[in-house]
């Protein structure tokens, strides 16, 4: 993808400004042509011109936020522990958001992620599973969570790809069903994890970096490679960009669509393991409103809600922005309501900033 074509605006009801040469997202009324593809700079410059450059606005927003944090909360903000706290908090929703990036790039949406996290966490912490884990190894719990997530994703995928139910509706149904099932299984109790090794492993650190953060990093890197460097990612972007063209190019659109939901389901399974480790519990209330948080992070990260274009780097930045925001608020002792108002204003400001920065870069 060339570096100088940056699209931020994605308003469905969007259009070029009434007259004027602005770079709208429309097909044919674009301003002056870009004038030849840019020479591709390799190496670091290429990266700067590529993913980072495309997300320049987000980076600026994050940096501004960090500056505000340092000014208002000083050392309490700018400490390594606080950085790790932010990362640890962001890691769970981050894993889900990376998975969500794929589904949205592929032209879909998934509202059931939070419910799947809940169901996976519950299933992986039932007495039965925990007994098995005690007899064998805690990895059983991890597998249980991943399997439940994957199966939920599979059901979503089949309903959407082969049942041709709109993703919004199919996953809304899954949202209701999975959370209900989680409640039934857990009998609405919080299930406590007895296996200390599990907690110790996932709650621990390697070289000072929490395992959860490492997990998130791995998921993000794998996600980035998968989206940008594999045929799987290429197919994903193709079916999101123009499903008909993808079909006529011999791509199995339905199957690929299904894979995307399975992938996200597994990501939810990972997130479930992480939240289990963080809270030492499995309950049906885990993951509440993750769907909104994840979609917000993905969209603010610059992935088109209509599919066909997306970046994992942007998503990670989006997650970090939201998490840092919460952290700065907490450190500054802001009351909840004021926080909410400020959050709304900051989201709008960040997006406008991202637009301006990208626009100046691209002309």
């Amino acid at each position: 993808m060339s570096a100088d074509v940056t699209k931020v605006d994605q308003t469905p009801g969007d259009q070029a400004p009434d007259g004027g040469t602005g770079g709208g997202h429309d097909t044919s009324t674009q301003g002056p042509p870009v004038g030849g593809a840019p020479a591709r700079a390799g190496g670091i410059a290429g990266f700067l011109g590529g993913p980072l450059g495309r997300n320049a606005g987000l980076v600026v927003a994050l940096v501004l936020l960090i500056i505000v944090g340092i000014i208002t909360a000083g050392d309490r903000f700018a400490s390594p522990e606080n950085a790790l706290t932010i990362l640890r908090l962001g890691s769970v929703i981050g894993v889900v958001s990376v998975g969500m990036t794929f589904v949205i790039c592929g032209g879909g949406i998934d509202l059931s992620v939070g419910a799947i996290v809940a169901l996976s966490s519950v299933w992986a912490t039932t007495v039965a599973t925990q007994t098995l884990a005690a007899d064998f190894h805690w990895i059983v719990m991890v597998f249980a969570a991943l399997a439940v997530g994957g199966v939920c994703g599979l059901v979503n995928g089949v309903l959407i790809a082969y049942g041709r139910i709109a993703p919004f509706i199919a996953t809304l149904a899954m949202l209701a069903a999975a959370r209900g099932l989680a409640e039934i299984i857990a009998k609405r109790r919080t299930q406590i994890i007895r296996d200390r090794d599990f907690i110790t492993f996932f709650g621990g650190s390697v070289l000072g970096i929490p395992v959860l953060v490492i997990l998130f990093a791995i998921v993000a890197v794998v996600g980035w490679i998968l989206l940008n460097r594999t045929t799987f990612g290429r197919r994903t972007l193709a079916i999101g960009g123009n499903p008909e063209a993808a079909r006529l190019a011999g791509i199995r659109v339905q199957r690929q669509t299904m894979y995307l939901y399975i992938l996200l389901g597994i990501a939810c399974g990972i997130a479930a393991v992480m939240i289990m480790a963080r809270t030492t519990t499995g309950t049906s209330t885990h993951g509440t409103l993750y769907e909104l948080d994840a979609i917000a992070a993905v969209v603010i990260g610059g992935t088109l809600l209509s599919g066909g274009r997306g970046t994992v780097v942007g998503t990670v930045l989006g997650v970090l922005i939201f998490t840092t925001l919460t952290n700065v608020f907490t450190l500054n002792n802001l009351d909840t309501s004021t926080q909410a108002v400020a959050k709304g204003a900051i989201i709008v400001a960040a997006v406008l900033l991202q637009q301006r920065v990208s626009r100046t870069r691209s002309t």
Partner: protein, 328 residues
């Protein structure tokens, strides 16, 4: 949970509910400055708002307390990170009303290990090592109080086959389960069961909605227990709308609204669930951090565990409780 006292108390049980009672004690004299971190669930509900407000007000009363109140949240993961932030900040004590007791146990234990005393409010941790002191409302006891009162109504009115209905709070929360269990257990004592049960979401709107449906489901109701006076405003609106006031309407939590209804005769009773717990938590945190004890106790140290009573407010004693009712 331990204390299940259900006979209407003639005086508010814990002395902590009556700040005035402690007014003269030496404990209120300013001591060493302490920073207290406070974190609770999202204040999306009158009772929780009252919890928050009472905590803030309590902190303001003490010139030696600096309160750091984190954003209320219903996301356990976020709340954990708030506690982590408090640990990073090296606050002197933490008052924690967890969204889910079990889920916050680990991080609370971490805080205790870091030498920060944790005061657990309302929803109990799953490990005794996670809190220096625990102050609980009694959810099960609340259900028992409501159930016992219901039995009393059945007996007084001499009902042979009474229809008993229940409007619960958020069903996925353990506290709702506790309340319902207490209610059912107490009803067993007089050979009754819950005939119709719906669950609302602690909001006025959901209360109205669920009540409207419930009134259709049960054409005649003798006793109705609504877990929460906040959603009770909506329930009352539905009762008014349908003009159904045949039942003995029992509330929960003890909001000022409910008390006024009791005065007006629109409500039979309400079971108190004190929203002052967090304020008590702040007080305890301050005392613990300053190494003081409860002055009314002989004990030198602050007790490990305090369970608040769940008294029933009726027309007979409402005047006494009205000042404690929280505006929701």
């Amino acid at each position: 949970a331990g204390c299940t006292s259900n006979e209407p108390a003639t005086t508010p049980a814990a002395s902590t509910q009556q700040p005035a009672g402690n007014a003269g004690s030496s404990n209120d004299a300013p001591g060493k400055k302490v920073v207290i971190g406070f974190s609770g669930p999202a204040a999306d509900h009158g009772w929780l708002a009252a919890i928050n407000n009472s905590a803030l007000e309590e902190a303001k009363k003490h010139s030696d307390v600096e309160l750091k109140a984190a954003e209320g949240t219903n996301d356990a993961s976020l709340q954990i990170s708030q506690i982590e932030t408090f640990i990073n900040d090296k606050v002197d004590a933490i008052v924690l009303l967890p969204t889910d007791g079990a889920a916050l146990t680990e991080v609370a234990t971490k805080a205790m290990q870091a030498g920060i005393p944790v005061i657990n409010v309302d929803r109990e941790f799953s490990s005794p090592f996670a809190a220096r002191s625990t102050i609980l409302g009694d959810n099960y006891g609340m259900g028992v109080s409501a159930g016992t009162y219901a039995c009393q109504v059945v007996k007084e009115k001499n009902l042979t086959n009474p229809v008993i209905a229940e409007i619960a709070g958020i069903d996925a929360l353990p506290l709702t389960q506790d309340r319902s269990k207490g209610f059912a257990d107490a009803l067993k004592a007089c050979n009754q069961t819950v005939d119709n049960r719906v669950a609302a979401e602690f909001t006025v709107e959901s209360g109205e909605k669920q009540a409207s449906n419930l009134l259709q489901a049960a054409p005649k109701i003798d006793v109705l227990w609504n877990h929460d006076d906040d959603q009770g405003v909506g329930v009352m609106a539905a009762l008014d709308q349908a003009n159904r006031h045949e039942m003995a309407f029992i509330g929960g939590a003890g909001s000022a609204n409910a008390m006024r209804w009791i005065q007006e005769g629109k409500m039979a009773a309400t079971v108190i669930y004190p929203p002052t717990q967090a304020a008590d938590g702040i007080k305890l945190a301050r005392l613990i951090a300053q190494n003081k004890g409860l002055s009314d106790l002989v004990q030198v140290e602050v007790p490990k565990r305090i369970v608040l009573n769940a008294p029933v407010v009726t027309k007979d004693n409402v005047e006494q409780y009205l000042p404690l009712g929280f505006e929701s």
